[in-house]
Amino acid sequence: MSDLTITRVFDAPRDLVFAAWTDPDQLASWLGPHGYTGSAVTLATRPGGAWRACIRSPEGDEHWMHGVYREVAAPERLVFTFAWDTEGDLRTETLVTIDFADLDGKTEMTFVQTGFPTAADRDGHDEGWTSCFDDLTGFIRRKDAR
């Protein structure tokens, strides 16, 4: 399975970086690509608590995302599930794990997102969707081969 790992060092102490993830106003101020604005965020930052956020594109399109916190250990670690509202029955909930390490007052943030759909996952979940998606994957491969 392919995971996404991004490591960044921020010139700020851990508690500040951690709060930027867990304070609704702060998260809304930076979440999303350049030009987007966070228009609403609710965060129940405790294990089992839900979070929900929305980003608005420059054109005004809203994209809602949501999940559940699995681990909240300030200022070291934050774990939560992540899914877009629009993904519907595509079963594309992923898991985000963020570790915050202290580097003499700076913070090394290691962001890992796992659980992206793979062929094996799809086989286990939904036969109808799997067979369809396999067909489509084959179609893409044939296109690539040309």
């Binding site: 996404l4 991004i6 700020a12 500040l16 690509p33 594109s57 992206f116 969707w129």
Partner: protein, 108 residues
Amino acid sequence: MTDTLSRTFSALADPTRRAILARLSAGEATVNELAGPLPISLPAVSRHLKVLEEAGLITRGRTRQWRPCRLEAKPLEDVADWVATYRRFWDDGFDRLEEHLRRLTGDV
């Protein structure tokens, strides 16, 4: 980036539309051919085709009476490439997070 993806996801979220795409992955087909095995009316099939066309998942021929539908691979490739999509999403956000933290620490 999420705009295109959202449109693709919405289009793919419906089982009838997925069935239509699966059929088209085997080759071009007309509305009548697509409607054949489906338990819904022709106008309903047409509405689904419109959604798929707007999402860029299919294109339709120009010939008036027989506008064959054809599957387009590009949006599906985008959906399949989850990791690259999310990397762009978060990298962009983390640039903004860095700016946000700089403002907070007064180091602007």
